[in-house]
């Protein structure tokens, strides 16, 4: 397996152990229960601008969208798709009115596959003829399709322990009163049994959720029946409908993103001072996402390949079996190192994380960074009292506006780190920033480059901006302000494109999906007159009135000089190349005896490109000579 061979997304500083954390046993199992009763096929939304569509279509497309996201995000989750109120039946219990949709090579409840998504997305066309729709609950019959559906779903979710797996049933329907058609004792009886069934499922750790589809003229009334089924009470009842609508929209517009389960990267000992060592957990909150694992396949059979690596002695060509020693050349000698010696060299500290002291926050410069930070949170798991000390230091650091400098002595890459305390930030939607410390990896002097010195000149006077220029810039800054900018508001266009292509190819879609590049500047906003004026003012302030004209002139001048230089070079080359009888050389195959400079002279004289290796040059000359 080769993760991201192009290296586009790779951050070489990422230690490999952090990358391996992708797979996780905790997963989710979902059964989608979709009402297929005739009312789901009624056209709704006859607004002028919106094409009318059926609720059935809405349900199918949301589920299909959600599956597409899921297959990339957390493809180990399992799903089943199940219709109720159908003419046909297909389920293990052989119950009427319930149809479990599935494709080959897949169990009823299983990981989503490309085929499932593909066939499910176009199920609508042939649904009525193949599976059919009809009300399952009708007077005179003792059938209860909703009851059957819940039964089937519950049976599907029987596998997997509720401890490690989250189990959910999602019901899509627009019938708010499924037992409205019948009356009397049959009705109460049916309601009672259905409720009982739902309750049983809930007791088994299965949560039942409802995604109601309301008609514009008739609001879905939860209190008819479903409120009791899913256990809504009091205030929840009033808020249920709007939140359900939101959830349905969320299903469609979710960002395709690999989901990572929260887990500890390492548990480390943090030595504060002599005799005081606490324990903390580290987490990777921010890491560049790679597009997922890549494996090599045999292009003929499309079967996976196994990579075998062998070490071969460069001198003798024999196979080196044992773990070879390493060497470094120094003073023209070969200096050998054993693996143990190397690991000893790297081990400069006995402790994991060792506090060295504190500094004011403004000494943490913007260029003191090398790779993504790691989040540190205390734990009392093994050392009682760790959390208390951590919180005390955390508070002090926040209050005194200081960060801690510590030595992080891992075995692979020991570094100085800055520990920056972060207070908890919450918003209405929950926690925005968790409380804890962020470990920022500091550069050593070897890692900092002094670029400015390179361009340090003595006599060139270096203008610093005048107050007027700064004022104009300030106006510009205020005009071009991104109000509520949040760090991660952009999706990575390259990654989204990657997922899009993958989906298109896997599902055999004809068109490549268009991915919106959110990272492009807001052209419209930039074109607002206020912004344009501020920009123009600033430009004049720093560049002067006639900047564009000057630029043009200088570029013209530059190109003019270039042209004349080029012409001169060509003339010279022609002169030089005249020294050889090219046709003769070409015929006798003696072109290869000439130097590259000679060859280039010919090419330059004939205004041909002069790039490439010698063979390329020769073949270009031959082509030019018509041979």
């Amino acid at each position: 397996m080769d993760l991201d061979p192009q290296g586009l997304f790779r951050d070489d500083s990422d230690s490999e152990d952090e990358f391996r954390l992708d797979r996780d046993p905790t997963k989710e199992m979902v059964v989608y229960l979709i009402d297929a009763s005739p009312s789901m096929f009624d056209l709704v939304g006859s607004d002028e601008d919106k094409r009318s569509q059926t609720h059935f279509h809405v349900a199918i497309s949301s589920i299909s969208q959600s599956l597409r996201t899921q297959i990339i995000g957390s493809s180990y989750d399992e799903v089943a798709v199940c219709f109720f109120n159908t003419k046909e039946k297909k389920n293990l219990q052989d119950l009427n009115g319930v149809f479990v949709f599935n494709v080959d090579e897949r169990e009823f409840l299983d990981r989503p596959t490309a085929k499932l998504i593909k066939e499910f997305s176009c199920i609508e066309e042939a649904f009525l003829s193949n599976i059919g729709s009809r009300y399952g609950i009708i007077p005179g019959s003792r059938e209860n399709s909703l009851y059957n559906a819940l039964w089937v779903a519950q049976a599907l979710l029987r596998k997997g322990s509720a401890k490690y797996v989250t189990k959910r049933i999602l019901i899509f329907t627009n019938v708010d009163d499924p037992f409205g058609n019948i009356t009397g004792a049959t009705k109460t009886d049916m309601i009672r049994t259905t409720m009982q069934r739902a309750q049983d499922a809930q007791e088994l750790g299965i949560s039942i959720e409802l995604l109601p589809l309301s008609r514009p003229d008739e609001i879905f009334n939860v209190s008819h029946f479903y409120a009791d089924l899913i256990g809504l009470e009091g205030d929840e009842l009033a808020q249920f409908l709007p939140s359900a609508v939101e959830r349905l929209e969320d299903m469609k517009d979710q960002l395709t993103k690999r989901i990572f389960k929260k887990r500890i990267v390492r548990t480390i000992r943090f030595s504060i001072a002599k005799g005081i060592t606490i324990e903390v957990n580290t987490y990777a909150l921010i890491r560049p996402t790679s597009p997922g694992s890549v494996m090599w396949l045999n292009s003929v059979t499309n079967l996976p390949l196994k990579t075998e690596r062998s070490f071969i002695c460069a001198d003798t060509g024999t196979l080196v079996r044992e773990q070879p020693k390493r060497f470094h050349q120094y003073k023209n000698e070969i200096i050998k190192f054993s693996a143990d010696e190397l690991s000893d060299v790297k081990k400069v500290s006995d402790s994991h994380l060792c506090l060295l002291g504190f500094k004011p926050l403004d000494l943490l410069k913007d260029y003191h960074n090398l790779r993504p930070s790691t989040f540190v949170f205390p734990t009392d798991e093994e050392i009682f009292g760790s959390t208390r000390i951590f919180i005390a230091l955390h508070k002090s650091m926040l209050q005194l506006k200081r960060f801690a400098v510590a030595f992080y002595g891992g075995s692979t890459n020991p570094r100085l780190v800055a520990l920056v305390a972060q207070d908890e930030i919450t918003s209405s939607s929950g926690q925005v920033e968790p409380p804890g410390m962020h470990m920022i990896y500091l550069p050593f002097s070897d890692d900092v480059r002094h670029v400015m010195q390179l361009h340090m000149t003595v006599d060139a006077d270096v203008p610093h901006a005048t107050d007027d220029q700064i004022k104009k810039a300030s106006v510009l800054l205020k005009r071009m302000d991104l109000k509520d900018f949040s760090v991660c508001q952009f999706a990575n266009p390259a990654l989204q494109r990657h997922y899009g292509i993958l989906q298109a190819l896997a599902l055999g879609e004809d068109e490549m999906p268009e991915i919106k590049d959110e990272t492009l500047p807001d052209e419209e906003g930039m074109a607002r007159p206020a912004v344009m004026n501020a920009l123009e003012d600033f430009k004049i302030a720093v560049y002067g009135e006639n900047h564009d004209l000057e630029e043009e002139a200088s570029s013209k001048k530059g190109s003019g000089a270039d042209v004349s230089k080029k012409r001169k070079a060509m003339a010279e080359a022609a002169l030089e190349s005249a020294n050889h009888d090219w046709a003769d050389l070409a015929d006798s195959g003696k072109l290869k005896d000439l130097t590259v400079v000679d060859l280039k002279n010919y090419l330059a004289a004939h205004n041909l490109p002069v790039t490439g290796k010698k063979e390329v040059l020769i073949s270009r000359i031959l082509t030019h000579l018509g041979r």
Binding site: F311, C313, A392, S396, P435, F444, S445, V458, D481
Partner: protein, 688 residues
Amino acid sequence: MARSKEALVLLLDVGPSMHSILPEVEKLCSMLVQKKLIFSKNHEVGVVLFGTEETNNELEKEVGGYEHVFVLRDIKVVDGDTVEVLHNLPRGTSPGDFMDAIVVGMDMLIKKFGQTNKGKQCLSLVTNAQYPIKDPSEGTKVDQVDMISSQMKAHGVKLDCILIRENPIGSAEQSVINENELLLNQFSKKAISKIVHVDSPLALLGALRTRSISPVTVFRGDLELGSTMKIKVWVYKKTSEEKFPTLKKYSDKAPPSDKFATHEVKVDYEYKSVEDPDKVVPPEQRIKGYRYGPQVVPISSAEWEAVQFKPDKGIKLLGFTDSCNIMRHYYMRDVYIFIPEPGNRKAIAAVSAIARAMKELNKVAILRCVWRQGQGSVVVGVLTPNISCTDNIPDSFYFNVLPFAEDVREFQFPSFSKFPAAWLPNALQQEAADSFVRRLDLAPSGREEMLKPDFTPNPVLERFYHFLDLKSKQPDADVPPLDRTLKRITEPDSDLLSESKPVIDNFHSYFELKENPKRKKLSRLAWKEKPSSSNNENGADGGASDIQRNLIQDSSVKVEKIGDLNPIQDFETMMARRDNPKWVAEAIQGMRVYINDLLEKSSKGETYPEAIKCLAALRKGCILEQEPKEFNQFLFHLYHKCKSPHLLEFLKLLSSKNITLITKTEAADSDVTEEEAKNFPLKSEPSS
């Protein structure tokens, strides 16, 4: 190439006031030359000492004066000797005059290179500038500096000064140091010069860039503020991790007589299909597959190329925002620096205006960058101002990459306030923590900041190169302990600790830490790097491991017990002992106990393979010594034991490895038939 031919003259003050810090100067300079030996073999280095007792320089011979300046080494291509010479600098006796040294160094460079090699010559001065320099024969000292610096400029010579400010001794007057500093600063008026102040040995080690890397631009072009306004900028890396050097793999296959052997190891990759492991698939017949759910979707690189995301090269401004919107921990990787196009006055002014406005308003800019055409991804990042404090350096920006939405994992953590009260500090504890944080100050006012990243060398690299040099002289050298000076990076500063001892003790007294008794065992395993093998769980084995230790030293020692390190070998040795027949019985008994222990200890079957190996050895030994009954009984014993469910796995392993009863054919004393052995453990019961 001319580019690689840099010349450096080290001007080292070895006068009496420098003696205390000379060991660090030696380390710094030898490391510098050592790195040049590895990374830039063509560089030339000369060494000039001043403050020496003797005098040795050409100027003294030619024109007189310039006493106590000693040219230790002429400008020559670096070699191992230079390292040696720098390791053992003589201690001088007279006050040094750095101005003389600079002139001597200049003279050496001019004589060697004349008008050539401009801009690649450098003087590195290391001094504490505690002695006054001589008054020039004519004009003032400042005039003299101006004269020298204009010479420097004319010849393209740079000056790097490292000014050490440690333990000023009583005799040195502050006024002298101040005057000297002023004079050194005067150099930067006319020539390219830089002064670095260090006040600790550690900072000195990090003060000189020991490996010169010529920086390469990541991008040259326009920073687009909008469609009409562009600023010409160059982008460089500001930080970039200097990795531990990749060492080549060594092959000893070449015959010792082969003088041209490279001793290198090539790595060869072969791709084999899973269904037919013998068939090698040529590299061009491979195709990349990406996971999509349980399936793998093959995509050829040509297909990929056609549809891939390919943004246009360019740097575009998205807008400005308050700096508090960008938290420090969102910085993703190494840092870039945006400088205005050198020599372009308009660009310099524009960058300066924006940088200063950003600083004033506390704003940052958000940019979208595509460094190269054809690059498959974009980066979004934050531009922060870097205001220059000297006149001849333009203002610039730092650029840090920010995460995309996909890169942020939204894990929830409990609020501290929701923790039980026992986990929260009380007022007194908080006070103790406050004073602790305040006291353990690495940047006290009036002193240089300690552990400044810019002056802190990487201890691992320092140690590696030191070890490399050591090994070149003595191939079997041990890894040297971490240098005392470098220890200040990995451990708290002892001075600071002793100064703040009361505060630390106070802090200590307020907080109580206790190991969780339930987790004790686990934790020990989890955080000890290497559980040492001598750490035996049951004391009974103590003796055995003692024997093991003896065994390693002297193989002729008689083995009397089965130890943990090499049980099979012990067993075989014991079985082979002929001095007393009891050893065979002892060995068998010992092995049985050992195997039993292994199975007892195992919780998840991790000891099973070892147990199987021992069992196989036991079986072999019993056949050799014709003791089938011993073995068969033991196997039955195991079999009964294994009936308990958690050992069932072991039983399966046993039959898969064909370890069964010893039959009559293998040992005459056995009464087990082949048939019985084959069916074991299915039905047989002990028949003896």
